[in-house]
Amino acid sequence: MSLVLEMAAKALKMNIPLSVQLDLTYRCNERCVHCYLDHDDHGEMTTAEIKNLLDQMADAGVFYLTISGGEILMRRDFFEILEHARSRTFCIKLKTNGVLIREKEAARLRELGVESVQISIYSHRPEVHDAITKMPGSLRQSIDAVRFLRQQGLYVTMANVLMTQNASDYKEVRLLAQELDAKFIMDPTVTPMMDGDRSILELNVDSSALKEVFRNQELVGNVEEFCAPPAAVDQDDLDSLPCSAGHTACYVSPYGDVYPCVQFPLPSGNVRETKFVDIWRDSPQLKEVRTITLRDMPSCSKCSHGATCTRCPGLAYLEGNMRGPSTQDCEKSFARTGIPSENLKGKLAAPRPVDSAQLIQIKGLQPMVPNIPPRVAKGTALGV
């Protein structure tokens, strides 16, 4: 077992929140088409509140701190917060679009001992990247930031979210990362908005694009092994925990709301009302999350992918049931192995859901309840 896993196992046993993602703001200077956040400020924590929270988190045992947003540098007190966090010896990873990182900021980040910086790069082509961020010139600025940070010797990860707009560009982005001496990671999943709105899921790539990604040796390593049929689920698998969310990790929003994970928006308390450590230890929601093993999941426990699935409990929660399947992960398992999950088999067998208005429509006839548009222009047939 690696030292990192050993420490994680110890933290799990001791109920210590080893890693936290703290979003400083949801405000952003980009307007990415796939973003899951509402960018208005609904009352962010003040500098003093955040410093106090950082003290509480250090005392609770948090070691890995991911500072994210929104765009973190939209906060004028960003470096003050970062300085305080480093004085409490967190291991800090930043997630940013890099647009506001120039030589001076990169040097300051180096000086403060940030562990790594992750920058989103959607394409090597400005017309594609900038169309996704809806900010002209953003690719050039983000790439400049990667260069400035690398010049300071900081570890940089270029994160590429795969979606319909950039589906063919990840190979070039990976080459760009190599050229800039940065790490490359790719996420093939666009997730629902935090308020549950699922409309942005339309941006997800189709199964053929996913299959191509999962068969790219440069991305997955041993393709045969990665795409192999799943091994049988055993008793140990049934007792296994889904992921670290709520177990050794959690998320805190700019408003002080605590969730098991940024992708698992189950409200579990607010640090403006309750101490961080008390939420971590006593929140009924986090306690419930901690009780869930594969055995407790009606569909997934019977699924052949049970032991190897990347099932995200947060996506399952956003789908309506934190003990249920995450269909997006079922689709990934299917694209990877060609074997449908129990959930997908059920969906294929079930009648296709249609809304009641569609049910009573017969082609060529008026619906029984006419769907009259709210505004009708004069002169049209319905306007008479």
């Binding site: 420490m7 004085s87 010896t89 940030v114 562990e115």
Partner: protein, 106 residues
């Protein structure tokens, strides 16, 4: 062996206590180390102004069943190891500014 050495935690680290151990990561190369209980005691006492031999005498020998000579020998090896990874500053003089890297809390 020169025992009048002073040790201070580097600023370029991340650290946190985890039970009776301490996780320490070098922020220059992201290498993770864990310190056992005895090493953690020395780490926490590394304030830059207390001589190493005094740390051994007051913090280690008072708390653990070990002969001072053996403890000091082991401590020197630990200090050398941590210093070689940039986690600890070592000097024959008190280290005036131990930096803002506070001891690992939890």
């Amino acid at each position: 062996m020169n025992t009048s050495r002073y040790i201070a935690r580097s600023n370029a680290i991340a650290a946190r206590a985890l039970g009776d151990e301490t996780m320490v990561m070098s922020s220059t190369n992201s290498t993770l180390f864990t310190l056992n209980e005895v090493a953690t005691t020395i780490w926490e006492a590394a304030d830059g102004v207390t001589p190493l031999d005094e740390i051994i005498k007051n913090k280690i020998c008072a708390k653990f069943e070990i002969e001072p000579e053996a403890a000091l020998k082991d401590a020197h090896a630990l200090v050398e190891g941590l210093a070689s990874h940039g986690l600890l500053l070592v000097s024959d003089m008190p280290i005036a500014k131990a930096g803002n890297a506070c001891k690992a809390s939890a």
